[in-house]
């Protein structure tokens, strides 16, 4: 446990010192501020939303977190095969499980921090620029609910990205396939498969669609604190997290560095 704690602090220290990290956080905060500024001062009289409504506007942006999770993973992992860091860590005697999980947890931390910074910046600026109204707290709860539902899905995407980064030598190709298919194209391919008219294929495709990371985001309006929806999100997210971590770790253990 202690050693894991030390490894985590080493990984975290290494990650925050990279200019990429600061750039990522600043970009997230900047984009959030830009959105708030667009809705507030820029649109001026054309936008009549209250604080609550503006905060609720963040909900359609939550699927972007899937891709930002992949970027967080890339940021933490950063070309370690090219630089030979992994080889050195393994040669030093660190167990592969600790290396894998340590980097995974660090990447999750980076992603959560970036999300927190962005949401905070947006909420603060909205509080300053938008009018306060009665329904504000309910709307804010709505955002918190959707964030809670989105977190496991983001973690799923992050875990899949880490599994790819650890095991596919050419990181870019791996991430390309992940970003293009698992996070997007798979949904389209399954929809196509569902329409082909081949019975078992169509049924299997429809069943698989509910298990995609992007599926819960397309649910539209969800009742506040709906446990069924939360269950669905956490189920899918944990499935992807556990599945990709187990697979990625198993492959990484067998790998010759």
């Amino acid at each position: 446990m202690e050693e894991m704690g030390r490894y985590l602090s080493a990984e975290w220290g290494r990650t925050v010192r990279r200019p990429y990290f600061a750039a990522f956080l600043l970009t997230m905060a900047g984009l959030a501020a830009a959105l708030a500024a667009f809705l507030g001062p820029a649109l001026g009289d054309l936008y009549h939303g209250s604080f609550g409504e503006s905060v609720a506007l963040l909900v359609p942006f939550l699927p972007l977190g899937l891709y930002l999770a992949v970027i967080s993973a890339d940021l933490t992992f950063c070309d370690q095969y090219k630089h030979g860091t992994l080889k050195q860590e393994a040669a030093y005697g660190l167990p592969r499980g600790r290396i894998y999980l340590g980097k995974l947890l660090t990447a999750a931390g980076v992603g959560l921090l970036a999300c927190f910074v962005a949401v905070l910046a947006y909420a603060l600026l909205c509080r300053v620029w938008m009018s306060a109204e009665e329904g504000d707290w309910v709307q804010a709860q709505g955002l918190l609910f959707r964030l809670l539902a989105a977190a496991p899905l983001w973690l799923g995407a992050l875990s899949a990205a880490m599994a790819v980064l650890f095991n596919v030598r050419n990181n870019t190709v791996g991430l390309l396939v992940l970003a293009a298919f698992c996070l997007g194209g798979l949904g389209t391919s399954l929809r196509l498969a569902a329409r082909t008219g081949v019975g078992w294929l169509a049924r299997a495709a429809e069943a698989c669609q509910a298990l995609l990371l992007t599926a819960p985001f397309h649910a539209g309006q969800v009742p506040l604190w709906d446990t069924a929806y939360l269950g669905w999100c956490w189920g899918v997210g944990l499935l992807w997290t556990a599945g990709s971590t187990l697979l990625g770790l198993a492959l990484f253990r067998g790998r010759e560095l």
């Binding site: 649109l43 390309l176 196509l192």
Partner: protein, 251 residues
């Protein structure tokens, strides 16, 4: 410049990724053709009309085939004395050539194979649909060009390929709903929806390859939009990309 392009193409042809990419594409195209057409050539032509959007999806992969791992070689090329414009534009032309060649190959295999193997049960419709397919491809050519230019600009200027590839797909899959949300906040109070859809086509060129634009699109206005927007993005991204590349300290 021609020599440089030939060299880049030769370099790309030596990569295993190109062979794998071509193989996977042919396999997927074959499966799509068989499953969606049900063995009828006329249905094949109809279902191929919806496929130009895959070119937009493949742009990062194509750019990576030429530009991937180029960071080290670019230093050598520049110290050898090749101009930065030659390097940038040469690689861009290589990407475009590769892309169009792959497209010709895949479509050729699908249509050729289909013409030979599938049933010709509606010959009078075939010519109409093939003409429509040609029309769709004509509109797609500049759009693919714009996607390749943007990805090339990113590849030559952003160190981490993972970042821009991820952002590209993020914009592709989620850019449109977000844009529609933002635009509806603003435009539906002042402008008409027509202006809204033009704005969407300008900001997200790939949407011109999507079905919603394709209904009622057999008009020269559609071609004007495609070529105007496509060439505009190409010119803009190439200009910005070269500007940034010139100032870069290639170490």
């Amino acid at each position: 410049m021609l020599n440089y392009i030939k060299a880049e193409l030769w370099k790309a042809s030596q990569r295993l990724s190109l062979a794998m990419c071509t193989g996977v594409l042919l396999l997927l195209a074959g499966a799509y053709s068989v499953l969606m057409s049900g063995g009828s050539f006329v249905n094949l032509a109809a279902s191929l009309i919806l496929t130009p959007v895959t070119g937009m999806l493949l742009a990062p992969a194509l750019v990576q085939l030429v530009d991937g791992g180029g960071r080290e070689t670019v230093k050598n090329e520049l110290s050898f004395g090749l101009g930065r414009s030659t390097v940038y534009l040469g690689k861009l032309f290589a990407v475009l050539f590769l892309g169009y060649a792959l497209c010709a190959l895949v479509l050729g295999v699908c249509l050729g194979g289909g013409w030979v193997l599938f049933a010709h049960d509606a010959p009078q419709d075939e010519r109409v649909l093939l003409a429509a397919l040609a029309f769709a491809l004509l509109g797609a050519l500049p759009l693919w060009c714009s996607a390749a230019s943007v990805c090339h600009m990113a590849a030559m200027n952003i160190r981490s390929a993972g970042v821009w590839v991820t952002l590209y797909y993020m914009m592709f899959f989620f850019g449109q709903p977000i844009l529609v949300l933002l635009v509806n906040l603003f435009l539906d109070r002042t402008f008409s929806m027509e202006d809204g859809s033009f704005l969407q086509a300008v900001l997200l060129p790939y949407s011109l390859t999507m079905p919603q634009y394709l209904s009622g699109w057999l008009s020269w206005e559609y071609q004007r939009w495609c070529w105007g927007i496509g060439l505009g993005w190409t010119a803009g991204s190439t200009f910005l990309g070269m500007l940034a590349f010139r100032r870069q300290d290639v170490r």
